[in-house]
């Protein structure tokens, strides 16, 4: 959905250069080169992002793969009715939003802080090493990471429990993976560990775009490191932060299926059954494709509403917006 919103902006941008009230076709002809260049991408976009929407019809049917869309029975809004009358669905929403918000907060604070810290390192070799090490986990699959998490948090010689016991903070091993209320924390924590370095790259790029003259001027005025961070670096990357925030609001309802599926277990299921897991278990898992599609539509609609409202909000408050 988000990708779909980016390219119209480009077109809008170029259209804005034209004198107003000029007919649409005249400007189309004048910009035929540009139009030709964007045509393949627009085609791809339509093919992969809009054509599949045809499948949404399934949500109003009792879809059976063997019968296909043309022969399946129409059931109206029954799938949506079932969805909204299932207590597990609302539990799923709660968990999804809980985990998402927690991830959003820790992810943002973490990666911005890391970017600020890395930015302050003057030794180039050390800076590069730290940066590389911090973004390496991004390339490790969740299957491996979930194994690491389980091993580290194990009560049977897991490194976290060992450290806490050596420090005499706890007297016997604590079962992290078996404590329902800690599951959101485990999700946010493991995501932070995996993605912090990767997410900080974009902020580092934004920081390198800040004019060095401003720092020099601040030096002359006698500003210290912290003053420079808070008065120059942070305001310098604020537009980036805002745009990324708006874009990620659209992903609030997607927690990351792999991560949830691999980390959850029977003991914490009350806090780990997210919308995605719910759709997988009660939709696809039971061959209820229509039901799963209905849940998918709900997801898309909510995401769309969230992004547009947030964008509007940001536009009115600070004049910063993604589209």
């Amino acid at each position: 959905m988000i990708k779909a919103e980016v390219s119209p902006k480009l077109e809008n941008g170029s259209v804005a250069l034209m004198p107003k009230k000029k007919s649409f076709f005249a400007s189309l002809v004048r910009q035929k080169d540009l139009v030709l260049i964007t045509l393949p991408f627009a085609a791809l976009l339509i093919l992969f992002n809009y054509v599949p929407l045809w499948g949404w019809i399934m949500a109003f049917q009792n879809y059976k793969p063997g019968l296909g869309i043309f022969n399946s029975k129409w059931v109206g809004f029954k799938n949506f009715y079932d969805l909204f009358h299932d207590s597990y669905f609302f539990l799923g929403i709660r968990n999804t939003l809980g985990i998402s918000l927690l991830k959003l907060v820790t992810g943002y604070l973490g990666s911005i802080t890391l970017a600020l810290l890395i930015n302050e390192i003057k030794n180039l070799a050390f800076k590069k090493t730290v940066q590389t090490i911090s973004y390496l986990p991004h390339f490790v699959s969740w299957v491996v990471v979930s194994g690491l998490v389980y091993t580290c948090l194990s009560t049977d010689g897991g490194v976290v429990n060992e450290i806490l016991m050596k420090l005499h903070i706890i007297s016997e091993p604590f079962n992290f993976m078996g404590t329902p209320k800690l599951f959101w924390g485990v999700m946010a924590g493991s995501d932070l560990w995996k993605e912090i370095g990767w997410n900080s790259i974009i902020y580092l790029a934004a920081m390198s775009g800040i004019n060095p003259d401003i720092y020099e001027a601040a030096d002359i005025d006698g500003a210290g490191r912290f003053r420079k961070i808070f008065s120059i670096t942070l305001p310098g990357i604020l537009p980036t932060i805002k745009i990324l925030l708006i874009l990620s609001v659209g992903n609030l309802l997607t927690v990351g299926f792999e991560q949830t599926y691999l980390l959850s277990n029977n003991m914490v299921i009350d806090y780990s059954q997210t919308l995605e897991l719910y759709v997988y278990n009660y939709g696809m898992g039971m061959g209820r494709y229509s039901f799963a599609t209905a849940a998918g539509i709900f997801n898309s609609v909510v995401a769309l509403i969230l992004v547009t409202t947030f964008n509007k909000l940001s536009k009115t408050i600070s004049g910063e917006s993604a589209f």
Partner: protein, 551 residues
């Protein structure tokens, strides 16, 4: 005579090798066999659930099968996606391989009309199939349409040399307690407690007296046990009266008592603390490390772990299955039910241009000549004939257990095709066993020294005899009955109650002292709200239908 045959075979092989250069289509010309023109047909075969390469027709045994049946197989196997996804994509496109083993997705293909009913073909051409399947044929009828789609390979198996399921206990524990069996639940846990107290560590690792898989897919190994303790065989989430009435035992006294016992043991620190917060791999790793004294499970799940214990020479830690029952229970049924189960098997699809030819091939696979090849292998290489009796030399005995060799040779790889019952009571017309693993010679040679000690301890000649033999049943397994898509409410109730049970198993077993009954009541209320037993009537109806039609 033999020489003549081999000359002819050699001629066929050369000719078929030469014809192999031609187009691989259905019409490749064959060789002269006994003066008449024999055509080699090629059928494509898709095997669901087979995730490693499979090339049946290019093995030595496969080539001989082609000579006899005149059919070459182009095998395809499952890559990438899961079965459900593949089934959906294939049915959406309507393009299939000629032959298909739908494995767990039979319903999807059936509903899409992809499968050719075999009933008429069996009547007309199925001489071998009728001979080997006989009365079992009526059990293969699809419950929805009443047609036979595949000749199920899931039949009586070779003589087992180990119990299939049971409470597995380390050999040293059994030995220290003078080889107990058929214990009560209380005695069983008392035995584990005592042993763990005397031996707090094994090779420096802290002992785990009792463990179980508790992950998402493994919790049936806890929730399915109560009926076994009460002496009933595994028939899924229900047990059945003699007249076929289904009873869901999720909230029965059996379940209550078993979970309560586990809860008590947990309070004494006897249960693996990570039981519900570890992956299946971690559980199996614990078994392989030899620190778990006992658990409930199946032999087939832990063959790698046992091999690992053997490699470490930790023979005392190898687990053996015994039975545990509630007090007063006379007969146990841990080995379960012996039956044919409809479902997977090789089906002919509507894309097959020559269904009659394909069926004739399936029937030919059931002939004695081919069966000897695919079950025993090639005479002289894989088995020896002495006075008309098929037997194994020392060297050939080793080949039977060598999975790599079997795959290369192509022997024992044809399980999905129609075949006779493989048990010791089924024999070829010349009196030979249908499968080499039924030879008493094979069974006795199979046990290793440390296993022989257990055999002596229990005074049996086959470890399988430690538990009651598989039972016959009027309605088959019972657990193979699934709720169809036409009953979405029941499907939902079944799924939800299963999930609730999964969740509460952890809560019940980890309940703090004195709170077990409260958690149990909470569990009962949630189960009742999810209408956990609304499925009983459907199962009753299906089982009673089977009892009526099959007997």
């Amino acid at each position: 005579m033999k020489k003549q045959i081999s000359v002819i075979m050699a001629a066929i092989m050369i000719a078929s090798a030469a014809s192999g250069c031609q187009s691989p289509g259905n019409q490749a010309t064959g060789a002269t066999s006994g003066g008449e023109q024999k055509e080699i047909k090629t059928f494509s075969l898709y095997t669901m659930g087979q995730t490693t390469p499979l090339d049946l027709s290019n093995t030595p045994v496969g080539k001989k099968v082609t000579e006899i049946t005149g059919v070459k197989l182009k095998c395809d196997y499952q890559v990438g996606s899961d079965e459900a996804t593949i089934a959906t994509t294939q049915t959406a496109s309507g393009q299939y391989d000629d032959l298909l083993n739908p494995h767990n997705e039979l319903n999807v293909y059936r509903d899409a009309g992809a499968l050719v009913p075999l009933d008429d073909y069996i009547e007309k051409y199925g001489t071998n199939i009728k001979k080997w399947y006989g009365d079992d044929l009526k059990k293969l009828k699809d419950p929805e349409t009443g047609h036979i789609y595949s000749l199920s390979p899931a039949r009586k198996t070779v003589t087992p040399i180990y119990p299939l399921y049971g409470f597995y206990v380390q050999k040293q524990v059994l030995k220290a307690n003078n080889w107990p069996n058929k214990m009560t639940l209380d005695d069983f846990f008392a035995m584990l407690e005592k042993f763990a107290k005397e031996h707090p560590t094994i090779n420096g690792q802290k002992v785990i007296p009792f463990a179980s898989r508790g992950d998402r897919d493994g919790s049936y190994l806890i929730s399915g046990v109560p009926a076994l303790l009460a002496g009933y065989p595994n028939t899924g989430g229900n047990y059945y009266d003699a007249d076929g009435t289904a009873h869901n035992f999720s909230l029965s006294k059996w379940s209550h008592d078993y979970y309560k016992k586990l809860n008590e043991a947990q309070q004494k620190g006897m249960i693996d603390p990570n039981m519900f917060s570890q992956t299946a791999d971690q559980f199996y790793q614990n078994i392989a490390s030899g620190k778990v004294l006992a658990f409930y499970g199946g032999r087939w799940e832990i063959t790698n772990q046992i091999a690992s214990l053997e490699n470490q020479k930790m023979y005392d830690q190898v687990p053996f299955a015994i039975s545990v029952v509630f007090p007063g229970v006379e007969a146990e049924s841990y080995n379960g039910i012996e039956s044919i189960s409809a479902g997977q098997g090789i089906c002919i699809t509507t894309s097959c241009k020559d269904p009659v030819g394909a069926f004739k091939f399936l029937d030919a696979m059931c002939s004695e000549e081919v069966q000897k090849l695919v079950q025993w292998g090639i005479e002289g290489e894989d088995y020896t004939v002495v006075d008309g009796k098929m037997t194994l030399t020392e060297e050939q005995l080793k080949k039977v257990d060598d999975a790599d060799y079997a795959k290369k040779q192509g022997v024992g790889q044809w399980w999905n095709f129609p075949h006779p019952n493989l048990d010791a009571n089924t024999k070829f017309s010349d009196g030979n066993y249908v499968h080499p693993q039924n030879l008493p010679l094979y069974i006795s040679s199979h046990y290793k020294d440390y296993e022989k000690e257990v055999l002596q301890g229990y005074k049996v000649s086959n470890l399988y005899d430690m538990l009651a033999p598989m039972k016959s049943s009027k309605f088959g397994y019972g657990w193979d009955i699934s709720i169809p898509d036409s009953q979405p409410e029941l499907q939902d109730a079944q799924k939800k109650s299963g999930d609730i049970t999964n969740k509460y198993l952890a809560k019940l077993i980890n309940a703090k002292a004195g709170t077990f009954e409260d958690v149990w009541n909470e569990y009962c209320n949630e189960m009742k709200a999810a209408k956990y037993n609304s499925t009983e009537s459907y199962f009753t109806q299906q089982v009673q239908k089977r009892i009526k039609e099959w007997n």
